[in-house]
């Protein structure tokens, strides 16, 4: 592990000067441009940032001003953050894909004085709303293409800004003044305002100090022993707290190199060239890589395909055990070695994961199959739970304690507690200062004694001691006996079975939990074919007794896993039915992003919900459906309801006795 920064380097610009001094010749940032990786060392970055910083001052930026940064992951946009911080200004990164109006809201709310935009696209958006933004005095851009003929009265190229800075710095007094202004920055100063994308309501500006971000980054580095030799690729939005920590803060703290890809479409190739050692991605990135591989394998020759499937199956069986350092017979290790030579290593090379030491997935639940696939190949993929309000880190999985369905243990210096309603609260050095200009929302989120409400419901798994996130807190209810009921958690468990396409769980203010299920026509259809089950329609297949038998087994397994997990044991599924039609967004049963609309479905299938709770063995239902051409029709059916035998809950006392 590389030498860590001294305690007096408590702000980003101070850290930059420190890094330029102790590892000036080491690479700090790379950018693939014109097909070649261009590198800047820490000493060069200091020079660039200093010139940029003084150039911004020349443009009239003062201590306390806010500066918007809009664009993709480019070295000069990262430098802009430090350049602003060095003179006491506050950077406000903005999502590059936001439309002009969203951008205008944030710029207005944050009272941005100068906007630094990546290219013509972003400049155009800014100009289109500039008459609504009286405070916005100037726009600085990175790529001059297409902007030649624009009116440059309020528009300047970064090169020009830096040149102005360099000219000013020829005066030694000016250099000293800049160094003084860096020395004047304090760990407790506001370092950045990150606007959360705001799935509900207007975006909120999360205020973080240098200390918030840097201590979190330092603890993150300690947690995974990250040093100056790491290579990361920066490709996630710079306005997202994850990128801010992984591609900016952790790099400044540990001194490792950040690589900016050539273009959005070249990330996979660029990652392969760099060979990242530390990676972070939402589940869909891992899913896409896997799907792409599977599709390509279908096109491969028969020999290669068989070899691939043999070794992948083998890896699924043994790979994770080897990675976790468990006891594995020698022969299995040998076969795994051969597989590594023939399949795993080339595959990891393709993914750009040959040198990976630590890979994180976060943001949403990852399918256990996908998670285990990467781990089986020997990729140390782990899960993490974080929030902007926490400067990312709340919990993470330590090496060797990896489970597909947990988010890990509290990070260094983080305290986590679960309140009576099941909501997860945390306390850490990374806790945000408040929402910018919104004390009301701040008070809702931060308790007076310093805890932060995450809005997520979860519990600590008694077996592993890891935190599990089950649902958004507002969706979590309780059964009449007071047992915690998290519908999405149960639904997700069911949906991990390929035969089950959709699940809708009920139980809030009821005596027990019931579910309505949709079978997956492709999976169940092919199962029916293999088992000589004849059916004429979806409805007939869905109602087939043998399908019910099979699904009943799945539901039973879900109940077993609920019992093992303790707090949810009382929320076992007692009764279920299989719906006679597929839930469809056209009928308003799903949202356009394929999420079930529980309330609406309960109204629409009122007779079925009643039947689930009145003990009847079957129920009649007729529903209106919209066909693809827009015509409407009515489907009627008699739907059977199955009861499940509840699995006895072992009392903790008994466990102790055993």
């Amino acid at each position: 592990m590389g030498a860590h920064a001294p305690a007096d380097a408590d702000t980003f610009p101070k850290l930059l000067i420190h890094n330029a001094r102790i590892r000036g010749a080491r690479p700090a940032i790379r950018h693939k441009d014109l097909g070649i990786w261009q590198t800047w060392t820490w000493a060069q970055v200091l020079d660039e940032v200093r010139a940029f910083s003084v150039g911004l001052e020349e443009l009239g930026v003062k201590r306390g001003d806010t500066i918007a940064i809009i664009g993709s992951n480019k070295p000069r946009l990262y430098w802009a953050m430090c350049a602003a911080q060095a003179i006491g200004a506050v950077p406000v990164p903005i999502y590059a894909d936001s439309v002009a109006d969203e951008m205008a809201y944030v710029l207005d709310h944050a009272e941005v004085k100068i906007a630094i935009a990546e290219n013509q696209e972003q400049v155009d958006k800014l100009l289109s709303v500039s008459d609504k933004l009286p405070k916005l005095a100037h726009i600085v851009y990175d790529e001059p293409r297409g902007l030649r003929d624009y009116d440059h009265a309020r528009l300047t190229w970064i090169d020009q800004v830096q040149k102005n800075g360099r000219d000013a710095l020829k005066d030694p007094e000016r250099l000293r003044r800049w160094e003084r202004s860096v020395a004047d920055t304090r760990g407790g100063d506001l370092a950045i305002i990150l606007y959360t994308s705001g799935t509900t309501g207007r975006p909120k500006g999360v205020m973080l100090t240098h200390e918030n971000v840097l201590i979190s980054a330092r603890n993150g580095n300690l947690f995974d022993q990250l040093g100056e030799n790491e290579e990361v690729i920066a490709y996630l939005p710079i306005a997202w707290v994850g990128d801010h920590i992984f591609s900016y803060a952790q790099s400044y703290v540990a001194g490792f190199c950040v690589n900016c890809p050539e273009a959005g479409e070249t990330v996979v190739e660029d990652r392969r060239e760099i060979g990242t050692t530390y990676a972070f991605a939402p589940p869909r990135i891992y899913e896409n890589l896997l799907t792409l591989t599977m599709v390509r394998m279908e096109d491969a020759g028969a020999l290669k395909r068989r070899m691939f499937h043999f070794f992948i199956d083998f890896a699924r069986k043994w790979g994770e055990k080897i990675l976790n350092g468990e006891k594995v017979p020698l022969w299995a290790r040998l076969v795994y070695k051969i597989g590594d030579f023939l399949v795993y290593a080339p595959l990891k090379n393709r993914f750009g994961l040959s040198k990976i030491r630590v890979g994180y997935t976060a943001g949403e639940a990852i399918g256990p199959e996908i998670f285990r696939f990467y781990r089986a190949l020997g990729v140390n993929l782990k899960q993490l739970y974080g929030q902007t309000e926490a400067s990312v880190y709340i919990t993470a999985q330590p090496d060797g304690e990896i489970y597909a369905d947990t988010v890990g243990k509290p990070n260094i210096d983080v305290d986590v507690k679960i309140d009576d309603s099941g909501e997860v609260l945390f306390k850490s050095p990374g806790v945000f200062q408040g929402y910018y200009k919104d004390p009301e929302k701040t008070a809702e989120t931060k308790t007076p004694d310093g805890w932060v409400r995450t809005g997520d419901a979860g519990f600590f798994d008694p077996k592993t001691g890891h935190l599990k996130i089950i649902d958004r807190a507002k969706d979590v209810g309780r059964l009449n006996d007071g047992t915690l009921f998290a519908p999405k958690y149960i639904e997700n468990k069911l949906k991990f079975y390929p035969n089950i396409k959709e699940a809708v769980a009920y139980g809030d203010k009821r005596d027990y939990v019931t579910v309505m299920l949709n079978i997956d026509l492709v999976a169940v259809g092919s199962w029916a074919e293999r088992n000589n089950i004849i059916y004429g329609s979806y409805q007939e297949l869905a109602g087939h007794p043998r399908v019910y038998e099979m699904i009943e087994k799945h539901v039973d397994e879900v109940n077993r896993s609920l019992v093992e997990e303790g707090p949810m044991a009382g929320a076992q599924i007692r009764r279920f039915l299989i719906l006679h039609k597929e839930l469809d967004a056209d009928d308003g049963e799903l949202t356009r992003t394929q999420k079930v609309r529980r309330g609406f479905i309960a109204e629409r299938y009122q007779p079925l919900v009643t039947a689930l709770y009145d003990g009847s063995k079957e129920a009649d239902i007729s529903t209106e459906v919209t066909f693809e051409d827009g015509r409407k029709g009515v489907i009627s059916a008699r739907v059977a309801i199955r009861d499940l035998t509840p699995i006895p809950v072992r009392k903790p006392a008994m466990e102790k006795a055993a």
Partner: protein
Amino acid sequence: MRAPSESDIAAGEVLLAVENVSLSFGGVKAIRDVSFDIRKGEIRAIIGPNGAGKTSMLNVINGFYTPQEGRITFRGQTRNKMRPHDAAAGGIARTFQNVALFRGMTALDNIMAGRSLKMHRGLFWQLIRFGPAMAEEVEHRLRVEEIIDFLHIQHIRKVPVGRLPYGLQKRVELGRALAMEPDLLLLDEPMAGMNLEEKEDMSRFVLDVNQHYGTTIALIEHDMGVVMDLSDRVVVLDYGQKIADGTPDEVKKNQAVIDAYLGVAH
């Protein structure tokens, strides 16, 4: 390299002029006594219904066809016919109606091929790829990489062209033409067969080429919206004859043009 303004073009220096050109294949008269000029820095559209002789006109300009009558003046030099290699060496590059790339070669190699006229070292040097030859190749590669960046095709740099979708092939072809650093770029239906989004992208590139590199562009195009938005001046052909010539607005109002496109009762 500054984009010329409208007044510059109106008074502008003539880069290429065709005078009284006629071309026939046996008894078929493809072009009859057509004269027009292309001024430095403009985007000049050649439009007309099917079979009007547009592509033949481009082929005459870059020397692929030899007209029976008429003269071509390019950069002040007048001749009866252009030879393809004279045209290429003199700074005329073109793209084709049906993409004409080396399908088995990568996008990068295809664009590098556009540099062949600019390579000064002979075959021997290029084969040993050492010393001055290497330095030269590096220099050319830099130019090609700038074009790749300009056209946003970094992600397909190493992909064989045959595997690319049509819209991207068209872009690579434009890249190869740009690699020649032409003074005059002839585009034969650059947007044919594209969807709206691809057309918008391509229009953007055509405008950028004109502005950024100051390249004079002559293009044939069927999409009237594109033509009217992009071009500074338009020449209209019908049955091999010139029926109108002027700014997009003038041409739009011209009765002969309206008749040619909509048809008239005879």
